[in-house]
């Protein structure tokens, strides 16, 4: 058998291109259905796990999927904002805790999540380096976000401008990283967390500037002075200028993109959901599990179509591969005849051919397994990219 393996290997090495094409074809045949299965299962597992750990999400009426994906993964387009008073409305019912989320901005590619300290307790997030955020302008980074930004406690990160051509738009805010979270293998690892008030500063709803001198005030609208352009606006919140930061308006009217509602019990959950059924209601309440189950069902349906196509393509590829093998046998008839004339046993002829098939299959299965492993790691994020 070792001699047959050796001869088979030499033959395949000699015919590298033919072997590579065969291996590639069979790798695809093996990998596509298996990889798809792995990808969908892992995605379902990840989506499901995150959704199951989040009882309810309240947001503006619109796409429930977009709301759930933005609130769970911080990746989707931001849903329409709603007012912060919605959080108080939930708390006032006494049925659930309310955790506001403001997910609109990014620092480079990492989402900036404006929230409260309740979020960390709710998700079980632990600060591994540094400390928890305490002041306006401070942030803590998820493990992957810190690595991607090259940031550690003491460094600074800057929010990305929404539109670089909008000269009158919001200034980027330089934020101080005070902590890095322990890895949780969840979307939290990719995010940079700030207090919701810091998110409002980025949004331009709060700002800081040097004290106004009399000559710099152009007019007063109500209690709000309108200053001329010579007044320096702060783009970083420091201990020295933090007192110069202030909100204009009622923070209760300020926007959040979602509120995570954590009911105290099943009855509270049912009652809370009932509160958002009114026809005039501007907000919706969604159960992430339901939304994700629908999404997974859709993905599974697409998968079954894709698998059907893959099976068809694979069958024809297999037939082609078999044809190539048979044609190659015909081309090699003289070689086989020579070996027979010299005295090659029938067993050896068969084992030589079997070894060639074995090597191709082993290489293909090995490659397919490698691809499946890669899919296992990167597949779910790939699917999320496609969905989002």
């Amino acid at each position: 058998m070792s001699d047959s393996l050796y001869l088979a290997w030499r033959y395949m090495r000699h015919h590298r291109i033919k072997t590579a094409i065969l291996v590639a074809s069979i790798t695809l045949i093996v990998f596509l259905p298996a990889g798809l299965q792995v990808m969908v299962s892992r995605t379902a597992e990840q989506l499901g796990a995150r959704a199951r750990s989040t009882p309810l999400i309240v947001g503006r009426k619109g796409s429930a999927l977009e709301l759930a994906l933005n609130s769970l993964y911080f990746e989707s387009k931001s849903p329409d904002a709603m007012r912060m008073t919605q959080a108080a409305r939930i708390r006032d019912t006494g049925l659930a805790r309310a955790i506001p989320l403001h997910v609109r901005f990014r620092t480079r590619k990492q989402p900036i999540v404006g929230t409260t300290l309740d979020y960390f307790a709710f998700r079980g997030l632990r600060v591994e380096q540094g400390r928890q955020m305490a002041l306006l302008g401070e942030c803590v980074a998820g493990a992957d976000a810190a690595r991607a930004l090259g940031a550690s406690p003491g460094d600074s990160v800057v929010s990305a401008p929404e539109n670089i051509f909008d000269l009158a738009g919001v200034y980027p805010l330089k934020m101080r990283v005070v902590g890095v979270l322990a890895r949780t293998f969840s979307p939290d690892d990719d995010a940079v967390f700030v207090d919701v008030k810091t998110a409002w500063v980025i949004e331009g709803l709060a700002h800081g500037h040097a004290a106004l001198k009399e000559g710099e005030i152009l007019s007063r609208k109500g209690g709000t002075p309108v200053a001329n352009a010579s007044v320096v606006q702060y783009t970083e919140i420091t201990p020295q200028n933090i007192d110069g930061f202030h909100f204009h308006g009622d923070p209760g009217e300020f926007p959040v993109t979602a509120i995570l509602a954590v009911p105290h019990d099943a009855k509270g959950k049912a009652l809370l959901m009932g509160r958002y059924l009114g026809r005039d209601e501007v907000c919706q309440i969604v159960e992430p599990v339901t939304v994700m189950d629908d999404l997974i069902a859709t993905v599974a349906k697409v998968r079954s179509y894709v698998v059907a196509v893959v099976v068809l393509v694979s069958s024809s590829t297999l037939v082609s591969a078999a044809l190539v093998f048979l044609l190659s046998l015909r081309l090699r008839r003289r070689e086989m005849e020579t070996m027979s004339k010299i005295g090659c046993s029938r067993w050896n002829v068969s084992s030589l051919l079997a070894c060639e098939i074995l090597i191709v299959i082993a290489l293909s299965v090995g490659l397919a397994a490698g691809l499946a492993l890669v899919t296992n790691v990167y597949g779910p994020s790939l699917i999320r990219e496609f969905i989002l």
Binding site: R10, I342, G343, S345, N348
Partner: protein, 216 residues
């Protein structure tokens, strides 16, 4: 070494028929088969080697009645006792010179490939002048060099019988002489049967058999 009695052979397709009443070749003899194309010279080599079997008659090669052996035993007999040389060399292009020489030891478990065999292969290659080309791709060899590789392959197992089918048919005069020299030198203890159309080499053989007279 070879004894043929009442031989009657025909291929399943085609009108060709080879009938030989009696033929005997002594051990250690060198014999040249001559005759027109299609007269059955190559077929007789194949019958003597057990590649094909006759419908009727007996073929005894050495101590084996080849015509009565089953297929597997005939293959074992060939690999151990017969060295075959072909006009077209029939080397495997995907193997280098060394592996082509060692091929019989890789395709039948009757022979065992060991260090002694490898050493003999190197010596044989040195002796025929291709010792420095053992790791070379056989496609990069000249015709003469290829036939020398084929000779090494045929002679490595030290066969009792060497069957050469027009071994010089594709060679220039210089290489023709060289190959025949090698063949006679290394097969001097074996029985050598060669098919040839080249009448200039016949005086090298102990015996010349004309198929026009032998076969009916």
């Amino acid at each position: 070494m070879i004894r043929i009695e009442k031989l009657d052979f025909a291929y399943p397709q085609g009108p060709f028929r080879l009938v030989i009443d009696a033929l005997s070749i002594e051990p250690g003899q060198s014999v040249a088969f001559i005759g027109p194309s299609g007269s059955g010279k190559t077929t007789l080599l194949h019958l003597a080697a057990g590649i094909v079997t006759p419908e009727k008659g007996r073929i005894v090669t050495g101590s084996h009645e080849v015509s009565a052996l089953p297929d597997g035993a005939r293959r074992d007999f060939r690999i151990r006792h017969v060295g075959l040389v072909f006009q077209e060399f029939e080397l495997l292009e995907y193997l280098d010179v060394n592996d082509n020489i060692l091929l019989p030891y890789r395709i039948n478990r009757s022979l065992t490939l060991n260090g002694e065999v490898r050493r003999r292969a190197r010596e044989l290659a040195d002796d025929v002048g291709i010792g420095d080309k053992l790791d070379r791709d056989v496609r990069r060899l000249s015709q003469g060099e290829r036939q020398r590789v084929a000779l090494c392959r045929a002679l490595l197992a030290d066969p009792q019988l060497v069957l050469a089918d027009e071994p010089t048919g594709n060679l220039d005069p210089e290489n023709k002489e060289l190959v025949l020299d090698i063949l006679f030198r290394h097969a001097r203890n074996a029985t050598l049967v060669t098919v040839t159309h080249d009448h200039t080499v016949l005086d090298r053989f102990d015996r010349v058999i004309d198929f026009a007279e032998l076969a009916t």
